[in-house]
Symmetry: C2
Subunit: 348 residues, 2 copies
Amino acid sequence: MLENKDNSRTDISQLGEFGLIDHLTKQFSIQHKSTIKGIGDDAAVITLDEPIVVTTDLLVEGVHFDLSYMPLKHLGYKAVIVNLSDVYAMNATPSQITVSIAASNRFPVEALEELYAGIATAAKIYGIDVVGGDTTSSTSGLLISITAIGHAKKEDIVYRDGAGDSDLLVVSGDLGAAYLGLQILEREKQVFKVNPNSQPDLDAYTYLIERQLKPEARKDIVKLLADLEVLPTSMIDISDGLSSEILHLCKNSKVGCNLYEDKIPLDPQVISTSEEFKMDSTTIALSGGEDYELLFTVKQEDFPKIKGNPNLSIIGHMTHEKEGVHLITRANTKIPIVARGWNSLQEE
Amino acid sequence: MLENKDNSRTDISQLGEFGLIDHLTKQFSIQHKSTIKGIGDDAAVITLDEPIVVTTDLLVEGVHFDLSYMPLKHLGYKAVIVNLSDVYAMNATPSQITVSIAASNRFPVEALEELYAGIATAAKIYGIDVVGGDTTSSTSGLLISITAIGHAKKEDIVYRDGAGDSDLLVVSGDLGAAYLGLQILEREKQVFKVNPNSQPDLDAYTYLIERQLKPEARKDIVKLLADLEVLPTSMIDISDGLSSEILHLCKNSKVGCNLYEDKIPLDPQVISTSEEFKMDSTTIALSGGEDYELLFTVKQEDFPKIKGNPNLSIIGHMTHEKEGVHLITRANTKIPIVARGWNSLQEE
């Protein structure tokens, strides 16, 4: 009667809090010289010779993710990426994270192992140390809180408030795919509810789904800009949608902006799937969110350094504040941009 | 129809995510020169000339707190204290925190204002800046995740692993009160369920209840030790109970310990209330938890500096590892100490 017959499921209470933390964190080794002490004391100890940047994000089951199509390993990976993206958006280099997790008893130890495996994979790929955290039970659902620490030379840190009124507006990668990936997964979930034996053919949507389930943070863009000797005048990462982020830059920098619809970078899968869903691809790029691309402004004199770079698209230019923030459509009409980004507090 | 007739309750979705964060964080001003950028960018920017310490804690409704007797303002205060206590346990000075909150729609904006008021009070009293955070909805309950950053000279940082086998074991303040405060509050909750009109007389328990609802972190002890020119050889804060923390120090420092029952500091209210509850006060001190006192070891040569100090009690001494970890009772029997600290993962 005392034996656990199901070897594939270990209840988290069997290990106890310290046992569980030890079990889950033993895979994390310290890579950075700057990490003096990682997990295992009242606090981690870090020595960085430069200013540090600190950012934190909270992901809540049922609000930010749906485990019916988000594998736990991907979730762990994505939870790290979301934070690293904020560090890169300061033009800084992430070096340490702390990870706190609350999980209800519906999650066995094996599920948390999957989650931590995803966290460990992201940490390894991006070269960061997991230096602390907390693991506790919750009364319902799963919640992940990550804090990332990075560093940069003081003169290299890029804020949201530095854009000048004739600067160029530049974005990395392409936009809208993560949102459409979510729509595809939601659609398949509904199909599965009706017919659990259906075998979805998702070949036409692989890029979209990958962008939703396994996003990357643009470490490469921070390096590229350094190599090109371009210091952006302002920068933000695109987590809530292009329109919302442009408004943040404009508000903080006290400038206006003209964004050109025909310059917004879209993947072919975004264009074809938008048509399939009878949605406007520009609206998706403007409001979709979760793309984790970098949006930044550069001085006009830096134009020769970035033009033609396949990783970067010049999508507009800043203007005097009183000119406002507008989208210039393909039909050459001027529409005010309003924030319609994703809002976790909005009621369904 | 569009008006909110109940002016005392503003739904959090009315403000939106950015509106809510702006609303709740506008009361936080920057006090520290070291905070270059606080709330309002992708990440905070901090310049500290010393090594930094980082710690994080997660508090979950129904696991770590019960809002039926924990006022939200006190909860906000306590959530900060729990983290600062970990920073002091490194013999470091906290300077910044980030605060992330997930709240279900049962919490109106006014409730979150109360919570943030408690956070702001703790920040002001302990001289720290709130530099970032995240506010989101949850599907059920309230959750608070705080990360604290502090700093110290490298040579002043005290770890868990430095205790020598003849060092003295010292604790600040007194133990067991927070646990008994919780028992009192639980008892009153049950009484209230049976008779909502009962007026509890809690005068005999004021210290216990205050220790549970509004604990403090021992900033003063870190200062006292510096003033006395005593650098502990190891240190930890008492969050899970004395026995659990002694075992952490012994395991990390590879030493044993003799703890003397008659030396454990107890408040008179702890003694009288233990008797009332027919519980052993030593057991409560050993296993109660949430006292947030500092437990540390000092070299024997530092004895003259600390003896007789009303804030400090010498409760035992470390031994060779092979001698094990024991409680020496008032009857002079030797009982092995095992961890029976509070465990958030334990099933009820």
